[in-house]
């Protein structure tokens, strides 16, 4: 999100997104996805605008947004790295991979680097269970991932 996007602009854009998607049956998740795609996270100002359009309380929208792992209340780093922690990947060294990636990137799982360069998150299954350990750097999926490969993709 550009730093100069004002609260009013966020609210106006979020309102437009919400109004466009309201005709759907069960519009809230599509709205939250669209807002996050636009701003990189779901800003507080957007929650108010969405609640207003859907005629529900802000608490209800917040409750939904905070339930799901995908929706962020704060912007992520410039690159998001996800490392799978599930059983199939654990069987081929996912725990070691995550520790190595933490060391290589200098950031703990679940956190964003201070300089905003990278966010590292655990993920529970990318569906690459026959070629683990699996990871994702930005949009790019990696099978049989190593910390070196991941660090190289981030750079």
């Amino acid at each position: 999100m550009p730093l100069d996007t004002s609260t009013e602009e966020i609210a106006a854009e979020a309102r437009a997104i919400a109004e466009r998607l309201t005709p759907l049956e069960g519009p809230l998740l599509p709205i939250l996805h669209a807002v996050q795609e636009r701003f990189g996270h779901v800003p507080d100002a957007a929650l108010r605008a969405i609640a207003d359009v859907l005629n529900v309380t802000r608490a209800e929208v917040h409750g939904v947004a905070s339930f799901y792992h995908d929706f962020r209340s704060e912007p992520a780093g410039r690159v998001t790295v996800r490392v799978c922690r599930s059983e199939a990947c654990k069987s081929v060294g996912a725990d070691r991979l995550l520790a190595d990636v933490e060391a290589a990137l200098g950031v703990t799982a679940g956190e964003t680097a201070r300089d905003g360069s990278v966010t590292l998150e655990p993920v529970y299954c990318l569906g690459l269970c026959a070629c683990g350990p699996a990871a994702q750097v930005g949009e790019r999926l990696l099978g049989r991932a190593t910390a070196e490969r991941i660090a190289a993709e981030v750079a």
């Binding site: 049956e25 069960g26 519009p27 809230l28 998740l29 599509p30 939250l32 996805h33 409750g63 939904v64 339930f67 799901y68 792992h69 995908d70 929706f71 599930s86 059983e87 199939a88 990947c89 654990k90 069987s91 081929v92 993920v123 529970y124 299954c125 990318l126 569906g127 690459l128 269970c129 026959a130 070629c131 683990g132 699996a134 949009e139 999926l141 990696l142 099978g143 049989r144």
Partner: protein, 503 residues
């Protein structure tokens, strides 16, 4: 002009298929991008048509491309005719018959390989006849619960309601499973056709595919396939000109494992927190927006076209006991030949692990396999003669779930896996019921004490598991005891190392 095929499956891409595609483009070759054949250890898998027969090459790196194009048959990566590769030749593919063979976004290819034949047949049948055909096939829910699909459809068919829904559960969050993803990326029209037939059988006119956000490739292919199907009149106000309406769309999940549970999925689809609903009412009677709703797994729905194309009897002729038809087994984890292996129910677990899967990738002995995702039981090698079937696995204190098998070698610490089962449950619990919400957190604590050497906590552990099993609203809390207790039962040495040293 030679015909070249290259997988566009997410696993193939994760192993470098796009770099191979770029090398092919440089050589002036445009490959047909197909789904995966399911032999993940050979990805990126490339196929070249030689004398009208597709020959496989893999795993292909970009450097292989020039030499492969110059002299395919003599190449060191040559694997011979694709369908003669033992892993493929030993399968009975009904649900995945087309996957890896066709361009997933070519409706013409789909029809050329039997697609839409089932739908055409269904259009000439009554709703009752359609449901009867599904019942006769013996098809049971492939998401894990194994509930007879035809009975579920019949409940929706006879339920009063102006508007009914077909909801496809494509929230495939179980570790070790990727069949839904592979199918949606490799043969999306089969899912669309299955959902249309479900609509005709139940009177539903709208479908939703609730697809997890972790599957961007599947979302893209599925959405595009729906658009193409609508353009071709397979979807819309008059399905194939019949005057019967059915349309559908993709809805993207938001990273909540529990939304794979059907009532939680419905809440999520409605735009609510993905918390579980108490049953009754059944979703078949009061589902999406309180209306009659079929909720079926991807594989259940995608198998329906084959049942209608070949007939219920043909499908039911495969299988074992009350597990009829075929099951796409996903062989994953620390395994040499990982991938998708569709076979009639009944194959012993050990054969899938050791013969088909080739044992561990690390070359070390197999210590345990977890079947059915993070909520499935761990099996020890002494149980490997268990035939793959719903009742047979239940008899061994396990479940087949979504038919994923995760293989572990002897370096795995089963106490840590038991601890992780609770940790996962704690992270993903929706919070609605106490046994799951609190029990999972207490479970992590108790397992940490056990791992630290306090064997006296085992009684509390089993007691906690009993409470979660009996008291949880859904399978997340209710089945977390499966991996925990099976690990404890079959691998007690991993739980008491400190005590053994003391003795």
């Amino acid at each position: 002009m030679i015909r070249v095929f290259l997988s566009r499956d997410a696993a193939a891409k994760a192993l470098g298929a796009e770099a191979v595609a770029a090398a092919l483009a440089e050589a002036g070759v445009t490959p047909v991008r197909v789904g995966s054949r399911g032999m993940v250890w050979l990805e990126p898998l490339m196929e070249i048509e030689l004398g009208g027969v597709r020959h496989a090459f893999g795993p292909v790196s970009p450097n292989d491309v020039p030499t492969l194009l110059a002299d395919p048959s003599g190449h060191p990566k040559a694997l011979g005719p694709t369908e003669e590769i033992p892993f493929l030749a030993a399968q009975q593919r009904l649900t995945f018959a087309r996957c890896g063979r066709i361009d997933p976004l070519s409706l013409a290819d789909y029809e050329a390989e039997g697609g839409l034949a089932g739908l055409r047949r269904a259009l000439a049948m009554s709703a009752e006849g359609i449901v009867g055909e599904v019942k006769a096939s013996g098809l049971r829910g492939r998401g894990g619960a194994g509930f007879p699909t035809g009975i579920k459809w019949d409940t929706v068919r006879t339920a009063p309601g102006e508007r009914k829904y077909i909801v496809c559960n494509a929230d495939e969050g179980d570790s070790g499973t990727f069949a839904d993803r592979m199918l949606m990326e490799g043969d999306p029209f089969s899912l669309i056709e299955g959902m249309v037939i479900a609509g005709l059988g139940t009177g539903a006119t709208q479908g939703y595919v609730y697809l997890r956000s972790e599957y961007p490739d599947a979302i893209e292919v599925m959405s595009e396939a729906i658009r193409l199907a609508r353009d071709a009149g397979v979807l819309g106000p008059s399905v194939l000109g019949s005057g019967r309406a059915f349309d559908m769309e993709v809805r993207v999940g938001a990273g909540a494992y529990v939304c794979g549970e059907e009532t939680s999925l419905l809440n999520s689809l409605e735009g609510k927190r993905g918390v579980v609903r108490a049953k009754p009412p059944l979703p078949a009677l009061e589902g999406f927006l309180g209306r009659p709703t079929v909720v079926n797994n991807v594989l259940s729905l995608a198998t329906v076209p084959a049942i209608f194309e070949k007939g219920a009897e043909h499908y039911a002729a495969f299988g074992l006991g009350r597990s009829r038809g075929t099951i796409p087994v996903q062989i994953a984890g620390n395994v040499k030949h990982g991938g998708l292996f569709e076979t009639a129910f009944g194959m012993p677990l050990g054969r899938l692990v050791n013969e088909i899967g080739g044992g561990t990738a690390s070359g070390r002995p197999v210590k345990a396999v977890q079947v059915g995702g993070p909520l499935g039981a761990y099996f020890a090698p002494h149980q490997f003669d268990t035939p793959f079937g719903y009742e047979e696995f239940d008899g061994q204190g396990g479940l087949i779930g979504h038919a994923g098998i995760v293989v572990f070698d002897d370096s795995v610490d089963m106490a840590e896996m038991a601890r992780f089962a609770f940790e996962f449950c704690a992270i993903e619990s929706c919070g609605k019921c106490t046994p799951c919400r609190i029990g999972a957190v207490r479970g992590v604590e108790v397992m940490e004490q056990v791992i630290a050497g306090d064997a006296s906590r085992i009684d509390l552990l089993t007691d906690l598991c009993e409470t979660m099993k009996d008291g949880s609203l859904c399978a997340l809390g209710g089945f977390t005891p499966y991996p925990v207790l099976s690990a404890l039962k079959h691998f007690p040495d991993d739980f008491f190392p400190v005590r053994e040293v003391a003795e």
